[in-house]
Amino acid sequence: MPGTTIPDPKGLLPLTPAVLNILLALSDGAKHGYAIRQEIETATEGKVRMGPGTLYGSIDRMLKTGLIEESGGAGGSDDPRRRYYRLSSFGQKALRAELGRLREMLEAARAKKIILPA
């Protein structure tokens, strides 16, 4: 909304792996629950497999904290009963803040030569 200040997401950091994965999955557009899970599984090469309870529990809490919001739907021939979710402005800010935090940690690890530079 124009003129609305987005709250500082620092209080939410560090994000849980489930929340971070969902935010990443939604970073390129609105998706429904099933598509979010597929995206996470593909991105993590099957290492992260969220069960229905964990996925929808995380989605519910993210809706309540305002990290994501329901979108009207992606249109097309998809099932109209499916709910679509997208990143809110606050969610985008939180995602950037968390990735920044992880990058700083990575750089600290590189400085200590725990991992080699890419």
């Binding site: 099933y34 229905p52 309870g53 009963r81």
Partner: protein, 254 residues
């Protein structure tokens, strides 16, 4: 419609999963139940490609998923008022068990009595968060008196001890005075008065009266832990029961 029980494996598995979903709070089930079943179906198809082991693995993952998400969803389903009730209910049950462990020690009497009153007051007033100290203060003040009355009722039922009769009347006087004090506060101090609505008063009377009667009856026919058991049942059933039932029930479809 065909009412015959489903025979194909997917329908049967879905039936079991639907039953498992009943463990979630009603609001969560109503909102996400169908989409969760859709995910389960997709998992079932995929697991089927790996045969029986795949499906066994799927059920294991489903159980783990429930184990992980159920506590979170129940905590999320409890509004602040309900949380207060549950905390008080658990506290009172814990204190009653502690009382059972300590049996007739004075410490047990004070703790149990305090939480007994705290529980009664918490029916509605825990939501009155700004003045929680007043609720706790009132409980600390009146709890032992009420407990003495309840114990007195038990001892009176035994008809063995003159102490029982004296304790009963002392406790009863304490209840009357404290209730009158509550009413006085209600008129004179609007902030504290908010603590006690008419339904709270009814609840306190009901809980105390019911507990005293049950305690007296059971105490007369059972061992010395019967009174404590009554308190556990009373607080557990009357406080935790309605909250859990209300959260479990699915909201009406709008």
């Amino acid at each position: 419609m065909n009412d015959a029980p489903p025979t194909d494996p997917l329908s049967r598995a879905l039936g079991w999963y639907r039953r498992l979903q009943l463990l979630y709070p009603g609001v969560f089930r109503a909102r996400y139940g169908e989409e969760m079943r859709e995910l389960f179906c997709a998992d079932w198809m995929r697991a089927g490609e790996r045969g029986g082991r795949g499906r066994a693995g799927l059920w294991l993952r489903v159980v783990l998923d429930c184990g992980r998400s159920l506590p979170q969803e129940w905590v999320a389903a409890l509004t602040p008022t309900y949380r207060g009730l549950v905390v008080c209910g658990l506290l009172s049950v814990g204190a009653a068990l502690l009382g059972a462990y300590l049996n007739h020690e004075l410490f047990g009497v004070v703790i149990l009595g305090t939480v007994f009153v705290l529980t009664s007051l918490a029916q509605r007033t825990w939501a009155f968060r700004g003045q929680a100290w007043a609720t706790i203060g009132a409980a600390v003040l009146w709890g032992p008196l009420i407990y003495v009355a309840v114990v007195g009722a038990g001892l009176q039922a035994h008809a063995e001890s003159s102490f029982g009769v004296a304790a009963f009347w002392c406790g009863l006087l304490g209840i009357v005075l404290s209730t009158a004090g509550y009413a006085w506060f209600g008129f004179k101090q609007p902030a504290v008065g908010k603590m006690m609505t008419r339904s709270d008063l009814r609840s306190v009377v009901l809980i105390l009266g019911g507990a005293s009667m049950i305690a007296g009856l059971v105490e007369a026919h059972a061992d010395s832990h019967a009174l404590i058991s009554c308190c556990v049942i009373n607080n557990g059933v009357f406080l935790l029961g309605p909250v859990i039932a209300r959260c479990w029930r699915a909201p009406a479809q709008g």
